[in-house]
C-alpha cells in the first residue's frame, strides 16, 4: 500500500517540479497558490495517515532498493510510527501556515523570485519528510543533506544583496557559512554511519536497535570508549551542527539573513530540530551507550545558558529570536540527553509553535518597519499592530513558561528530568528559564511598548494583511493550548502515543518542586523585563552596563574562530597550497603529461601518411599478426 507515501510526498514533488521548471512563466498568484496548495495537500495527507498509523493500519513502506552490495542493502523505505508521525504532523502543519504567511510576506518579489522561493520551500519540506520518515540512517542522511541544501539556498535567497550598514554579514556569505559549518557536523554523522555499517552490517533502524544490546560489552575502540559510545557521540556531532549547539551554533544567528518565513520554518520550527529528532530516534543506542547524561545534556544546557546571555543583549529583533532558538534547542537536548525523550520531543513540538509564531510576528514587524530590524528604532508598536502584538505576547508568555501555556508543560517536563538526575543541570536550566522570560519581555517592552523611537518609521507602520495575521492567530492558539490539550505527562495523549517508540526511564518520583522554582524565576524575569526596559530611550539602551558588553559582542566567538581556524587555513592555502602545491606539483603533473603526449604524438604522427593504402596495409598486417598469434596458441 503506497497511498500514505503518495499522499505525503507527491503534492510537494509536483509543486517543486511545476514551480521549479515553469515558474518564470507562471503568474505570481499561481506560483504562490500552487506552493500553498501542494503544502496543504501534504498536510491533509498527514492528517489522513496519522490516525491510520495510530490504529496500526500502516507500517513500514519499502518503496524500492536503493543500493545492494552483497548482503548489504539499503532500501528507500519509510517508517511510519508514532515518532515519525508526530514529526510529520508538526512539519507539515507549521509549514502549511508559514507557506500561507509567505504569500503575503514575499508579495513584493517578482514572479521569478516568488516561484523560486516556493520551489525551495516545497523542496525543503519534501527533504524534511524524507529525513523524519526514512527507516534507515542512509535515507535520513539524504534528507539531512537535502534540508541543508534548501537551508543554504533560502538563506542566500537574496544572493545579490550587499552588506548592509551595521550588519556583520550578508545573505550569500551567511549561506556559505551555514553550509560549511554544517559540513563539520555532517562529517561526524557520516563517520557514525560508517561505524554502524561496520558494526551491524546494516543501516536500518530496527535491525540496529535489535542488535545494539549485543555490542554493549564490546572492546574499546579508541580513547578507551566502546564502539557504541563512538556511534552515539558522532551522531551527536551531526546533531550539534544541524541543531546549532556549542561549538557549531555560529551559523544560526547569521542565517537570519534569509527571508523571515524561512527563519521561522527552517531555522526555528523544523530543520534545526532534526538533531533532536535523530537523538530521540536513536534513543535505544543512547540509553545503552550512556552518552546522554555525560555528553548530550551538558552540551545542551551550556548552550542554552550561553545563548540566553546573547539573546539578552542583542539589539536585532530576529537576532534575539535566533539566540533564543539556540537556547531552546539546548533545552531539547537536555531532555533527550537525560532519557526524557518524550519531553524533548514535546518541547520540540511546542517550540515549533511558539518560536515559529515569534518569527512570523518578527516578519510582520519587519514588514511594517521597512525591513529595519534594529529594536532601538522601534517602540510603541502595540498600538499600530494590535494583532501582531497580542500574538507576540502569547508566544512570549508561552516560551517564558507562564503557567498552563504550552512552554510551561514541555519545559517543566525537561527540568523535572534534570532535577531527578543532575542538580547543576537543573539549576542552570532554571536560571536560563528566568533569562528566557527576561529577554523575551525585554524585546516585548522595547519593541511594542513605550514611545516610538523613530517617528518617521512609526508613522509608516501598519498592521499586516489577513493572509499574514491569520497564521499568527492559529499559531497563537496552538502555542497557548497545545500543552494543556496534549497533556505533557506520562498519561497524556502525546506521551502515550509516543511510548511505543520512545524508551521511558524513571528516576524517582514526580515532584512539583522544580516546577515552582522555574515558574517563579520565569515570572520574575517577565516582570523585571517589563519594568527595566519599558520606555527606555535609544541612548539609555546603548549605554548598558559593562557586563553586557561581552555577550553583546557575541563573546567574540566568531572572531576566535576566525583567528584560530579560518585565517590559518586561508594563509596556508595562499602560501603553501597555492604557491607551491598547486603551482608546482599539480600544474607540473598536468603540464608534464601534456608535454609527454605532445612528444609521443611527434613520433607517432609519422605513421599518418594520408595514403589510404598505407592504412590498408597496416590493417592487414595487424590481421595477419592476430591470426599468427591465434595459430601459435
Amino acid at each position: 500500500m503506497l497511498a500514505p507515501t503518495a499522499l505525503l510526498f507527491l503534492p510537494l514533488l509536483a509543486g517543486v517540479l511545476i514551480n521549479g521548471l515553469l515558474g518564470a512563466k507562471l503568474p505570481k498568484w499561481f506560483s504562490a497558490a500552487l506552493g500553498c496548495a501542494a503544502m496543504g495537500a501534504s498536510f491533509l495527507g498527514a492528517l489522513i495517515v496519522v490516525p491510520l498509523v495510530a490504529a496500526g493500519a500502516v507500517g513500514d513502506q519499502v518503496l524500492w532498493t536503493w543500493m545492494a552490495a552483497g548482503s548489504f542493502t539499503v532500501d528507500v523505505a519509510l517508517k511510519f510510527d508514532a515518532l515519525s508521525c508526530v514529526m510529520a504532523l508538526i512539519i507539515t502543519g507549521v509549514s502549511f501556515l508559514i507557506h500561507i504567511y509567505a504569500a503575503g510576506y514575499m508579495s513584493h518579489e517578482d514572479k521569478r523570485g516568488l516561484s523560486r522561493f516556493y520551489t525551495y520551500l516545497n523542496l525543503f519540506v519534501f527533504s524534511m519528510l524524507v529525513l523524519v520518515l526514512g527507516n534507515n540512517y542512509a535515507l535520513m542522511f539524504v534528507g539531512w543533506e537535502g534540508v541543508g541544501l534548501c537551508s543554504y539556498l533560502l538563506i542566500g535567497f537574496w544572493y545579490d544583496r550587499e552588506r548592509k550598514e551595521g550588519d556583520s554579514t550578508f545573505p550569500s556569505q551567511a549561506a556559505k557559512k551555514a553550509f560549511i559549518v554544517n559540513r563539520i557536523g555532517d562529517f561526524g554523522f557520516l563517520i557514525a554511519i560508517f561505524l554502524m555499517f561496520t558494526t551491524f552490517g546494516t543501516l536500518q533502524f530496527d535491525a540496529i536497535y535489535a542488535n545494539a544490546q549485543s555490542v554493549v560489552g564490546g572492546p574499546a575502540l579508541m580513547w578507551g570508549k566502546p564502539v557504541l559510545w563512538w556511534i552515539t557521540a558522532l551522531l551527536f556531532v551531526g546533531a550539534i551542527g544541524k541543531s546549532a549547539q556549542i561549538p557549531l551554533y555560529v551559523w544560526l544567528p547569521d542565517a537570519m539573513q534569509g527571508p523571515t518565513p524561512v527563519s521561522a520554518l527552517i531555522h526555528a520550527a523544523t530543520m534545526v530540530t532534526a538533531g533532536v529528532y535523530m537523538v530521540a530516534r536513536s534513543n535505544v543506542l543512547y540509553t545503552l551507550a550512556g552518552t546522554g547524561p555525560s555528553l548530550v545534556a551538558p552540551i545542551g544546557i551550556i548552550t542554552a545558558a550561553f545563548a540566553a546571555t546573547m539573546a539578552l543583549t542583542s539589539f536585532d529583533f530576529k537576532g534575539v529570536l535566533a539566540y533564543s532558538t539556540v537556547s531552546q534547542l539546548g533545552y531539547m537536548f537536555v531532555g533527550v540527553g537525560l532519557g526524557a525523550y518524550s519531553a524533548g520531543v514535546a518541547h520540540l513540538m511546542t517550540h515549533a509553535f511558539f518560536k515559529g509564531l515569534l518569527f512570523l510576528t518578527a516578519g510582520s514587524v519587519l514588514h511594517a518597519m521597512r525591513d529595519v530590524g534594529d529594536i532601538r528604532r522601534m517602540g510603541g508598536l502595540s498600538r499600530k499592530m494590535p494583532i501582531t502584538f497580542i500574538t507576540f505576547a502569547v508566544a512570549a508568555l508561552a516560551i517564558g513558561g507562564f503557567p498552563f501555556l504550552s512552554g510551561f508543560f514541555s519545559k517543566d517536563a525537561i527540568l523535572l528530568a534534570a532535577y531527578q538526575q543532575s542538580q547543576w543541570i537543573f539549576w542552570l536550566g532554571a536560571i536560563t528559564a528566568g533569562l528566557t522570560a527576561l529577554y523575551m519581555f525585554r524585546l516585548l517592552a522595547i519593541a511594542f511598548l513605550g514611545e516610538p523611537r523613530d517617528r518617521e518609521l512609526h508613522d509608516a507602520a501598519h498592521e499586516s494583511p489577513a493572509v499574514m495575521t491569520l497564521p499568527l492567530i492559529i499559531l497563537a492558539v496552538l502555542s497557548a493550548t497545545a500543552g494543556a490539550v496534549l497533556g505533557m505527562h506520562e498519561d497524556g495523549l502525546l506521551y502515550r502515543f509516543l511510548s511505543g517508540v520512545l524508551h521511558v526511564e524513571h528516576h524517582g518520583a514526580a515532584t512539583m518542586t522544580p516546577m515552582f522554582i522555574s515558574v517563579a524565576l520565569g515570572l520574575v524575569g517577565m516582570v523585571v523585563g517589563l519594568l527595566v526596559y519599558r520606555g527606555k530611550s535609544a541612548d539609555q539602551l546603548n549605554h548598558g552596563s559593562a557586563i553586557s558588553a561581552l555577550p553583546r559582542a557575541k563573546w567574540y566567538v566568531d572572531e576566535a574562530y576566525d583567528a584560530a581556524i579560518v585565517r590559518p587555513i586561508h594563509d596556508v592555502s595562499r602560501s603553501v597550497l597555492w604557491r607551491f602545491v598547486d603551482k608546482w606539483i599539480i600544474d607540473g603533473v598536468v603540464n608534464a603529461s601534456a608535454a609527454a603526449v605532445y612528444a609521443a604524438g611527434g613520433v607517432l604522427r609519422n605513421v599518418q601518411t594520408g595514403v589510404v593504402q598505407t592504412y590498408a596495409a597496416l590493417i592487414l598486417a595487424g590481421t595477419v599478426a592476430l591470426l599468427f598469434v591465434k595459430a601459435l596458441l
Binding site: 599518418q608 594520408g610 595514403v611 589510404v612
Partner: protein, 100 residues
C-alpha cells in the same frame, strides 16, 4: 579433394587477390573493384558453409552483403567522381587530406 575444400580454397585465393589489389593498385576505381572481389570471396564462403551445414542462413547473409555492397558502390563511386571533379585525378596517392 572435396568440392567443399575447392570452394573454400577459391574463396581464400580470391580474397587474397582482392587484398593485394587494394594494396598495390593506384587507380581508385580498380581499388574499388578489388574490394568487390573480397566481398564476393566472402559470399562464396558463406554459400559454401551454408551448403555444408544444410541451412539457408548463409544465403540470407549473402543477400545482405549484396545490398550493402550496392549501397557502398554507389557512395564510393560518387566520392570518386567528386574527387575527380576537384583534382582531375583518380590516383589514390594524390588524396592525402587525411594527413592533415
Amino acid at each position: 579433394m572435396s568440392d567443399f575444400a575447392i570452394c573454400l580454397a577459391v574463396s581464400a585465393a580470391l580474397f587474397t587477390l582482392g587484398v593485394v589489389g587494394v594494396l598495390v593498385k593506384r587507380n581508385a576505381i580498380v581499388v574499388f573493384m578489388c574490394i568487390e572481389l573480397m566481398l564476393n570471396a566472402a559470399n562464396l564462403a558463406f554459400v559454401t558453409f551454408s551448403r555444408q551445414h544444410g541451412t539457408v542462413d548463409g544465403q540470407i547473409f549473402v543477400f545482405f552483403v549484396m545490398a550493402i555492397a550496392a549501397a557502398e558502390v554507389a557512395i564510393g563511386l560518387s566520392i570518386i567522381v567528386t574527387v575527380f571533379r576537384n583534382r582531375a585525378s583518380i590516383n589514390v596517392d594524390d588524396v592525402t587530406m587525411l594527413r592533415r
